[in-house]
Symmetry: C2
Subunit: 195 residues, 2 copies
């Protein structure tokens, strides 16, 4: 994505569109760059170290979580990997079909499912993670350790802000608004009445 326009001109165009409606540009630039950086890093890594093992970013993250923390319940894996449990079902299915993870029933609770790495999965992660970390070092190459720490800390504060106050904030914003559901999502099964 080499087409980024200079920031100064973007600000000028926004003013041209909105007149004097006040806009906070530092915050806008930061949010924009978070997404640009995330996409760029993800694609670089998928196209280098992960390609050879036919893994996606998410697949790798799930493997990583189970590798580090050992056999664990799927809902915890999803939380740790930062994906929804619905998504995890599909990702785990893919990884299972590649022979990298194994599902087990929970010994005492019939609702739960445990996820663990197979021998192949373990072996793969042992060789893959150092390569993955090398790419993390590459993409952050222009920054010092201290700058990485500071940036990581700032980003964590954003995550914490949303975790702590996001729900409340969304409730305020939707205060009294129509409870518009997503366009997507499963539809309830019709009760008997014909339409």
């Amino acid at each position: 994505m080499p087409g980024q326009r200079p920031i100064a001109e973007t600000e000028r165009m926004i003013r041209a569109k909105l007149g004097d409606t006040p806009i906070r540009h530092e915050q806008m630039a930061m949010v924009g760059n978070i997404h640009r950086a995330a996409a760029a890093v993800r694609q670089h890594v998928e196209n280098s170290v992960l390609r050879g093992s036919d893994l996606t970013w998410t697949g790798f993250v799930v493997l990583w979580v189970v590798w580090i923390w050992g056999e664990m319940e799927t809902r915890l894996v999803a939380a740790e990997a930062g994906i929804s449990k619905g998504t995890l079902t599909g990702v785990a299915r893919t990884l299972e079909s590649r022979g990298l993870v194994r599902r087990t029933e929970h010994p005492s609770d019939g609702r739960r499912v445990l996820l663990a790495l197979t021998g192949d999965g373990e072996e793969l992660m042992r060789s893959l993670f150092p390569e993955f970390n090398a790419e993390e070092v590459f993409v952050t190459g222009p920054l010092t350790d201290e700058e990485c720490r500071r940036t990581a800390d700032a980003l964590r504060q954003v995550v914490v802000q949303i975790e702590n106050h996001g729900e409340e904030r969304r409730a305020e914003l939707l205060d009294g608004a129509p409870p518009v559901p997503r366009r997507s999502g499963r539809r309830p099964r019709r009760a008997g009445s014909g339409d």
Copy 2:
């Protein structure tokens, strides 16, 4: 995603798995937090200001690009929005079906397609963008303007690093490796031989 383990313990677990293989933890934390923050911000915004207009994050970004820069060729919109042109085709179709953008043929080059906002799209962005920016301000609430600037700058350096040296780096890494294609992707049409 409230399930984050403390960093110190994560580092300990990695050492337990890899022994003395050296790992750079600052870079690892930064890359991880980039993705966590990106996902958190995206979900917060989709579930607040975008929900009412039935827009996805990507849909909004595409609208934003066309709103700010005016009618432009699809490949430039894709580059500016940070998505592939294949993805843009679908997103533009969705937005067109909602009556927010309009496709026009290029006046002199029949291969190109121009994208522009409709009146509805223009009106929507005028009211939506300030709300969007307010959420950007909310999620970065714990940070000062100066910290936002610094963080945005660090993230930009990551993007630039990948833009400038990513291709070269990937070439080095894959040097002589089997040209493993993605598992996904269109398959060539079989030449006449049945399988």
